[in-house]
Point group: C2
Chain length 375, copies 2
């Protein structure tokens, strides 16, 4: 059967079949067994786990083994700075903060400013650096512990990163990189090398601690190919294999079937975290794909379809109250709740989150240096 | 006709036809016209130029144009640290010092410690760093002006180097790198990226000065393929094209026809700059390929062949006195000078040079920090 979706670190499109992706990427579903083990340590499960927003993993059990041995582990995530932060970017960061709080662990936050430069004809290194500094405010606004979080730009931390990237690169042939990422002869040699830089932070815990130290990477599933290479290299350099915990993509306003994940480059599809309430209201009212019926009468009679409704999907990401969420699902499905009402509720929920985020972002401006790590 | 020699940045072998290499590499001979122009500015020509040890160039005339416009230019050369320094390594450095003295210009001295690591299975980054620090003493011992010379390791200056290497890498496709260096799918992705790092110092003069500033690279001709890529990229990044001035390879003790250039990895072929007089004597007496005849009687009668005699070849590199050199050439050719006498004279000449070098190397130990540039 022909594949009707594409997921690579540089392209996500089509209506994604996440079950198929689990098989294709050779990752494991976050099943009840591992969820129960997590819950044993965290006391409760984050709603991202309960709702299968984080749905797959590699080696998460190894991290739990470490926890049970009272060993330290590190979190590592990243943000490639090519534009403003949108709602979708927040998802792994929010989960990262929860993991940091629950396990009391260090977080390495990579800003690969050279990645977006290398892979995008229209961006200069000055552009990506500017976006890096903008995005860092949004990262800090998520609420990470400044004592346990180090944020770094690849180009500013290169005195440390580059030499370790060379150690990684020596273990990756062009043949392997080509088959992993689909490179052709027309890719530039920076694109080909880049994956080495994305692997380094997975080994930094061991490097910084001076002993083998495990690393857990919360990220969207499109980043997994990098970390397959990481785990190909890890035993060759005597580092522990890294673990990943993988989330789905927040759909764009027009829905996953139409345009894949939310993307900064298409404004009508995207809610930016800097959007003011009236902008959020307008975008959701105007663009959010609806599972409702054509007329109020028909909707009342036949009910709507929350499973394809983008506003409802957003609630699964941003409404923590699961009882309320269930009620909305039922009411929309039965026709008791109209599309306009659902949209308003979603816009209000997002606006409440963003109001607090934007206030924390203002405060973050004076805290940047506490978080930064330079070479 | 099949080629019976190989010259790439990572392999030099066979009996090199330098005229053929000029055509193959698309460089220009250092002809009388450009030599006269150089002499106009330097007052005299270095004997490396008179003797065609430096025999080819690209864009040297552009550098002379700059000199005539009273514009600054920079020198850039390098040393990939994989072992101890031998006599052959000194040749471009000695010439670099002469150019620095004559033109009063800045020199950037790159130590690509990652290069040898990436291209050599048996070297760790710790090995190449150790050799870097050893080799730097020999570099300083050549006598560069500490006020006008900056030495840097790629891994230690990576905060500056890496971001500019990415700017270069974005302009080089894998296809171009492959055809320039003969890469295959089994090369590692660090090897493929590396040429970007070798290009950066050619652009650093413009970056450091904040305006277009020309750069002249004295080096052995095997490095030229890197600088072709550099000049492919230069106009795309608005930097001036770089100039190169290219030397032949000092033959190994057994002669170029036998083993190509002097190489640190084959001890019987090599005079290290740390060799003591008795070691130099022994190596030349025992290993230096001779152009003499089998018996003294035959040699007296038929004369020797200085053109293939390695001891004589070494004198062309290390005996500045051209009159004396001519006399030795004639005396050896006529049979008046015996092989043993020539070998002794060569060993004495080299030992005199090395004694002074070794004394300067001792003094260099306290001067390292004056020369180093870090990121």
């Amino acid at each position: 059967m022909a594949k009707d979706f594409t997921v690579t670190p540089w392209e996500v499109s089509g209506e994604i079949d996440y079950d198929k992706l689990i098989t294709e990427f050779g990752v494991k579903p976050l099943d009840d067994k591992v969820l129960k083990r997590i819950e044993k340590h965290t006391g409760e499960l984050h709603y991202f786990l309960k709702r299968k927003i984080f749905f797959a993993h590699t080696y998460f059990d190894t991290i739990l083994d470490e926890v049970e041995k009272k060993h330290k582990f590190y979190l590592y995530t990243g943000r490639a700075p090519s534009g403003p932060v949108h709602l979708g970017h927040l998802v792994p960061w929010i989960f990262c903060k929860w993991l940091q709080d629950k396990f009391g662990v260090n977080l390495l936050f990579q800003i690969p400013d050279e990645e977006k430069f290398l892979f995008n004809d229209n961006l200069t290194l000055e552009d990506t650096k500017k976006w890096a500094h903008e995005n860092i405010l949004d990262i800090i606004a998520v609420g990470f512990d400044p004592k346990k979080t180090k944020i770094f730009l690849d180009t500013e931390y290169a005195n440390v990163m580059y030499k370790h990237a060379c150690r990684v690169a020596k273990k990756i042939t062009y043949s392997t990189a080509k088959s992993t990422f689909g490179f052709t002869d027309s890719n530039n040699i920076g694109e080909i090398f880049y994956t080495s830089m994305q692997t380094v932070p997975a080994f930094l815990p061991s490097i910084l601690e001076g002993k083998p130290t495990h690393c857990l990477i919360p990220c969207a599933i499109d980043q997994q190919p990098h970390f397959f290479l990481t785990n190909d290299v890890a035993p060759k350099l005597n580092y522990p294999k890294v673990a990943t915990v993988l989330c789905r993509f927040l759909p764009g306003l027009q829905g996953m079937h139409k345009e894949g994940k939310m993307s900064s480059s298409v404004e009508s599809t995207t809610i930016f975290v800097s959007d003011k309430p009236d902008v959020v209201n307008k975008k959701i009212m105007k663009y959010a794909f609806s599972g409702g019926k054509e007329t109020v009468e028909q909707h009342r009679k036949e009910g709507g379809n929350p499973d394809v409704d983008v506003s409802y999907q957003y609630l699964t990401y941003f409404l923590e109250d699961s009882k309320k969420l269930k009620q909305i699902y039922d009411d929309y499905k039965s026709g008791k709740m109209l599309t306009g009402e659902l949209k308003k509720f979603t816009a209000d929920t997002i606006n409440k989150y963003l109001k607090e985020h934007q206030a924390r972002r203002e405060k973050a401006k004076s805290q940047v240096e506490k978080f930064m790590m330079r070479g």
